[in-house]
Amino acid sequence: MDEVILRFLWIYTWFVLIATIGLGLYGIAVKPNMLKKIISLTILGDTANVFMIYVGYRAVYPIKPPVLWTMNPSKEVLENFASQITDPVPPALVITAIVINMAITILITFLAIQAYRLYGTLDSRKISKLRG
Amino acid sequence: MFRYLTIGLFAFTIYILFSGSITLYDILTGLIVSAIASVILAKTLVKEDSKVIDIRRLFWLIAYILHYMTIIELRAHLDVAKRIINPRMPINPGIVRVPYKTKTDYATVLVSNSITNTPGTVVVDLDEDKKILYVHWINVKAIEPDKTYEYISKTFEKYAKKIFD
């Protein structure tokens, strides 16, 4: 029984993540407003990050973050540590991705503000009409 | 000069509290960080040097925190919790004037934040010239300034004057 519930929850979470990614793509593709596109972009990027972290998760107990609590670990401490921690690689990659997404989002927002100054609108349909 | 030292000490305390350990590394970096923070910000935080050396104010502050956190808060929490759980209990909210008599910014802020932190009363606005706080009160018992002062802010102001004025 436990096994079945665990499996259901695991697959359900994957589906929720993929559906949110789909939502983000939908927002970027369909919504005409530039700021709305940017919001969708942040949602897409954030969900991709959760996706990456979820890859590194393991269903054991007790589970701990990969931080050692002593400076001179003995063999026992290390073996104990190895059986409890999550994978440290996905968090490291995700931090990089968060910074990158944030930097690009900020740059795009600046571009959108500048576009509003020039065009007087943020609607991408109107912008492509006015380009001339 | 004292303001820099006091603010620096305060910063150092927070740094050590947040690091949670006292090695040489923590102390050294803490000293550097608190020095930088106090150099940048002390001049906008403290106006009068003479007040910060007064130890009695610190005691009043501790007494106030104990009194406030144990008695006043608990009573107010119970009152509002009753209103939430019991659907028949009436709420008759409104925004009333509450005068205040404190002189410095910090005292005013202490009074008004204490009022907001007490469930049942929230400071919506304040008039610095007329010295009036506009308080949203969940159960308006009185609307005259004297009585609202009595109900809402008298205790806080007593402490605030001793701590900051």
Binding site: - | I16, V124, V140
Partner: protein, 122 residues
């Protein structure tokens, strides 16, 4: 010394339990109350009763948690700083929101017995 720590521990535990209950009450109030201004009071219960009290409780509990080693002081310090911080920030945030909502007139003050702020023309 151990007795004092144990007493502190139990007080802390009680505070944590109180925190959980006030959190639930605050959430219920947020849901039940009819208007933004009234919900502010429920949010206060959530922030002070539901966050500051349990944080102080954790700070009182942490010296007894010996299995955490020296990091129990880290737990204690961080929870104290966070408690202090929330005690300062929560009321200010509520006040700022309420004032902005009243000035921009995005929320009607309803139900109301009296509104002196509107009478004074702000």
């Amino acid at each position: 010394m151990e007795v004092i720590l144990a007493i502190a521990f139990y007080i802390g535990l009680a505070l944590v339990v109180i925190g959980a209950i006030s959190d639930l009450i605050g959430a219920l109030g947020m849901l039940r109350f009819p208007n933004f201004y009234v919900r502010l009071h429920a949010a206060t219960i959530g922030a002070i009763g539901g966050a500051v009290y349990p944080l102080i409780g954790v700070a009182l509990m942490s010296p007894s948690l010996t299995s955490l080693g020296t990091y129990r002081w880290y737990l204690m310090g961080a929870s104290l700083v966070t408690a202090l911080f929330i005690a300062m920030a929560a009321p200010t945030g509520s006040h700022a929101l309420a004032r902005a909502a009243h000035r921009a007139k995005v929320v009607e003050v309803y139900p109301k017995v009296v509104d002196h702020l509107e009478e004074d023309g702000k």
